[in-house]
């Protein structure tokens, strides 16, 4: 007995931010330069009052309809996002009611970013193999556009909004392998949401300073690009090596590598450093952007839809980023 990813659907908000839009706001950069720097041509952006939980309701609905899943089958709901509706109750609790899941459903938030899908998958598998439940609804994604300063081109060209809904179910064989994970909280300041939180209370000064940016009342996402790149170049190759060793496999045994779609440059650099053949490193960031914990399931779904993955393939999944936090596993489909 084991667990497997049974179905994935995702929801992207309708509005898009194109490189033309960014270039007209930042005339010193052409749209070609923005594409070259980010590897991204369009990002989906949530509506004014649309939060991660609102995207989650839509993604869950799409999953149930598309794959003919009955809500009563769900035993556990895991909601992973950094923008939660409130400090309490857990957004997952309100989502149980909004999605219409049975009151016998367990529900928990996972407030992680880019590593979140891997942690969610680890928890979902654990809930199934410990015989707690048969089906876990894992909702992972972001509405991070709300946390980006309008003048911060570096982040605005990378991040988009979106939510993935993944159904993890009990299966006859184990299709989700062992996990490698890790944390280095000493680097938290390299990638963090500053202002408007319990440590840095929303002040009149903050709101005034950010008046032209509509107050930045959700807080502001800040990134130390060089530090994050160094973290990635050090940790991702190590994590891949460790997860392969744990499964007694080599790079050649992997049919497809699906990494968190951080940026076009980071994916290209990781591919080069780890000598992954281009056709084995899946990249769909151009149209989907960096949606934090939604990128890995969105990429997996897109790879399956494009016929890139075949039954029996081994796929290495890896997430890494804010925390610092990272995780990887190898699944078979």
């Amino acid at each position: 007995m084991g667990a497997r990813i049974k179905a994935i659907s995702y929801h992207l908000p309708e509005a898009v931010l194109t490189n033309d839009d960014l270039s007209s706001q930042f005339p010193e950069y052409t749209k070609a330069e923005i594409l070259r720097r980010s590897g991204i041509s369009t990002r989906h952006i949530s509506a004014e009052n649309e939060l991660a939980s609102d995207l989650a309701v839509k993604a869950a609905e799409e999953l149930f309809i598309e794959h003919h899943i009955e809500k009563k089958e769900i035993g556990f709901l895991l909601f992973c996002a950094e923008v939660l509706d409130r400090a309490g109750p857990a957004t997952a609790c309100m989502l149980q009611d909004r999605i219409g899941l049975p009151t016998t459903t367990g529900a928990m938030d996972i407030p992680l970013g880019c590593s979140g899908f891997l942690y969610g998958l680890l928890l979902a598998k654990s809930l199934i193999v410990s015989n707690a439940v048969d089906n876990v609804l894992l909702l992972t994604g972001s509405c991070e556009s709300k946390l980006l300063h309008p003048e911060d081109l570096d982040l605005r060209m990378l991040f988009g909004d979106g939510m993935a809904a993944t159904l993890v179910s009990r299966s006859e064989n184990e299709n989700i392998g062992n996990f490698i994970f890790g944390t280095d909280g000493s680097g938290w300041e390299d990638l963090a949401i500053r202002g408007c939180n319990a440590r840095e209370l929303a002040s009149a000064k903050w709101l005034k300073e950010n008046e032209e940016a509509r107050g930045m009342a959700y807080g502001r996402y800040e990134m130390n690009g060089p530090a994050v790149l160094n973290f990635t170049l050090k940790n991702v190759p190590n994590m891949v090596k460790e997860v392969l060793e744990k499964e007694h496999l080599t790079m050649e045994d992997i049919d497809l590598f699906i990494f968190h779609q951080a940026s076009g440059f980071i994916l290209e650099t990781l591919g080069k450093k780890m000598k992954i053949p281009k056709e084995k490193l899946f990249v769909n960031i151009r149209e989907k952007a960096n949606t934090l914990s939604a990128t890995v399931p969105i990429a997996l779904r897109d790879a399956m839809d494009a016929g890139i993955t075949k039954k029996g393939n081994r796929i290495l999944l890896a997430g890494f980023g804010i925390g610092y936090s990272w995780g990887a596993t190898i699944i078979s489909i």
Partner: protein
């Protein structure tokens, strides 16, 4: 390796920089259209090609390509 090998690798990475414009004495900040992206490209190149980690603040201290080269050589001989 010598500084010219580093220059030729940088030249390959910086698509917008006309051939022959990079010299050992060229200041990094004088590279045409110098941006945060160039810093990331140099950090990635140092890691992949030379096996050394350069922090953002260290890169800011390197005035010229020659100084960047010296930093890479020093780091290669003193692995941290």
């Amino acid at each position: 390796m010598d500084v010219n090998e580093l220059i030729s690798k940088l030249q390959q990475e910086f698509e917008d920089v006309p051939a022959g414009t990079l010299k050992p004495e060229t200041k990094l900040s004088d590279i045409p259209d110098w941006s945060s992206m160039h810093a990331l490209i140099i950090i990635a190149l140092a890691d992949i090609e030379y096996g050394v980690t350069i922090k953002g603040e260290e890169l800011r201290k390197a005035q010229s390509i020659q100084e960047l080269y010296n930093m890479i050589i020093t780091k290669q001989s003193n692995p941290s």
